[in-house]
Symmetry: C2
């Protein structure tokens, strides 16, 4: 039996594939962080990241995972006992909720089941009933389900109720249109191992004036994630120097391509993926699927965990399974970041191979055909 070359195809919603040029930037000599030489690099990385955030507000690069940036939002916006509203339609909405509870907030949660979404109108109703809420925590793209929400609408509603809005754009940014300033978002957080095409280890948070002002008043204990320290000095603690080299290189690529073009290609690839799913007679899981990833229901009688593990362990194609209560019920194909149309073809081809092995009969090439027909229609 012949043995083929094994290559790794990373199609999970973070970490995502890192272009070689960005990888190698991280291998450059580490320089000292308290020097004018590093300051210049840091400034360029921050400026480029602001472009991706579409913001002129203060933006901070944090040595942590995205969860650290979420903690920065909560710890700086909510005092113990203060009323906070969390929009939760999956695992990362639940993370906002947990964080708010840890910091002693009086949390009111608009909860929908996994796969569902919350509309701006529903937030409006909820805020009418919870009018003392001073902060709303929302998610642009709920990574556990692939659901995208109307953050622009949330912002209008929050403003009307004089509440601050903090948005987890960790997986959503780069793939989903997001305009922090035009939409009036107060705090936006994101992470490196998603659309930014970096390895994990760096997170970002933008705070507008209103949010920075609130941070001055908040009494929650915080140190590493104290935004007041970052507002004084962008590197209050030793920054992740080599990841910041990579950040600078990656945002340069993003800026050259242009953010609207990037949003468009993510939308096209997401739609092509959904067409591939339909071509295999599989069912989408999310009621409002976005550009980051496509969650697919595991067909009846098939072991969902095995789809993911065989694709990864035997064929080198890493997609994601379901998280928490979704385990075994869905699988998630990511089309986030440095992902080509042919990568999606590979994902479907591996999926077909594994579904056939697991006794679910699908023809080879059907998924790829669904993907390619859409891409051709879009001129890609």
């Amino acid at each position: 039996m012949a043995r083929l070359v094994r290559k790794e195809y990373l199609l999970a919603p973070g970490p995502t594939p890192v272009p070689n040029g960005v990888s190698l930037e991280g291998a450059r000599e580490t320089i000292h962080h308290r020097t004018p030489q590093f300051k210049k690099i840091m400034d360029e990385a921050i400026e480029g990241t602001k472009y991706v955030f579409q913001t002129a507000n203060d933006l901070f690069l944090i040595a942590s995972s995205g969860t650290g940036a979420m903690e920065m939002a909560v710890a700086n916006l909510v005092s113990p006992g203060e009323k906070a509203v969390v929009i939760s339609v999956g695992k990362f909405g639940e993370r906002w909720e947990k964080l708010c509870k840890v910091f002693g907030a009086d949390v009111a949660v608009i909860r929908k089941e996994y796969g569902d979404f919350v509309s701006a109108e529903e937030l409006e109703d909820f805020l009418n009933k919870n009018s003392s809420a001073s902060v709303v925590f929302a998610t642009l793209s709920e990574t556990s389900t692939g659901t995208v929400m109307n953050v622009e609408g949330f912002s209008s509603v929050a403003k009307k109720h004089d509440a601050l809005l903090a948005v987890d754009c960790i997986s959503g940014l780069v793939a989903e249109p997001m305009k922090a300033d035009e939409w009036g978002l107060d705090v936006v957080v994101a992470g490196s191992q998603k659309g930014f095409m970096l390895p994990p280890g760096l997170a970002y948070a933008s705070f507008n004036e209103r949010a920075l002002q609130k941070a001055e008043e908040v009494t929650s204990p915080r140190f590493y994630f104290d935004v007041r320290a970052y507002a004084k000095d962008p590197a209050p603690w030793t920054p992740a120097v080599n990841l910041i080299y990579q950040q600078r290189a990656a945002v340069k690529l993003l800026k050259e391509e242009g953010i609207e073009n990037i949003w468009e290609r993510h939308a096209v690839l997401a739609e092509a993926t959904r067409k591939g799913v339909a071509a295999l007679n599989l069912e989408l899981f999310s009621k409002r699927p976005g550009n980051v990833l496509t969650a697919v229901k595991v067909p009846d009688g098939v072991d969902g965990g095995k789809i993911v593990s065989i694709m990864r362990d035997e064929y080198g194609v890493t997609i994601a399974g379901g998280q928490g209560t979704m385990k075994g019920k869905i699988f998630r194909i990511s089309h986030l970041g440095y992902v080509s149309g042919f990568d999606i073809v590979v994902a479907f081809t591996a999926l077909e191979k594994v579904l056939r092995r697991l006794g679910h009969s699908v023809p080879f090439g059907a998924g790829a055909a669904g993907v390619m027909k859409h891409l051709e229609k879009e001129g890609c």
Copy 2:
């Protein structure tokens, strides 16, 4: 006028030089963190780090700077209102103090001036007067002054008073002898960009049973740095995958060399550096200088800031200046991590060149001679 090749020589106490092999490990393809393939890498990185810590206790790899690991120690060991003792002889002792205050501890500080140290006997006296203290926060090597302290002695004293001991070994580890288990240290924290020869962005914390038990009782709010989350799952949030590749590679190098050999070479290089300082008729700053770095008093009439900036900007040799109140009064030559005897010769040669430019007459080669005589005596 001829122009020479410019090379960078990093002789600051963090970040320190990264060996090429370790740099390139970071450029490997990022894989998904929730896979058996990554778990194996993470386990090996943790095991190797435990060897360097000389511990069999739980040890956690954290995506943050060393300050994050310090916050992990404080947030998990101290409840609001609880009495904590901080040993402070410089900037990083002050950081323990600030952290304790942020988390609402009733802090009692044994403070000595920069350059001085606290002995185990002084801690004993202090604990006799502050017998309700349940935790002591200490520093192995105070990076701002190069002072090393008797952590083994602190541990005996803390045990006698039934207080937990948490030690900042961020710059000290690898350079200074440190045996977490033999000395009975409850919590040890460290960071990647020091003796571990990694870029910044990764921190480590070991907790023994007693410390983990304490964390269960403590009421301070914490999430990202909640040690209980790490004790359940070594990667509760997305880990810094590529830095963990590098960690695994670096601890492999350290283990191959042997920790006692590494301690010895740091001791030899530190003594050689002090000999170089003496040969230039310069004065040491610390009353108890250690193996990490050598702090030197700026000679009268010389601009200390210029020593550092000219060495770095014009000659590519990065040493560190004084921090806080020490600014302009001292400079610090690091001999931590991946640093050879010839690197120290380069540092002295550049120092001589700059001192001469700044009007402080020293002969070329005197510092190097001091260094090399000692190294030859040690058979290096």
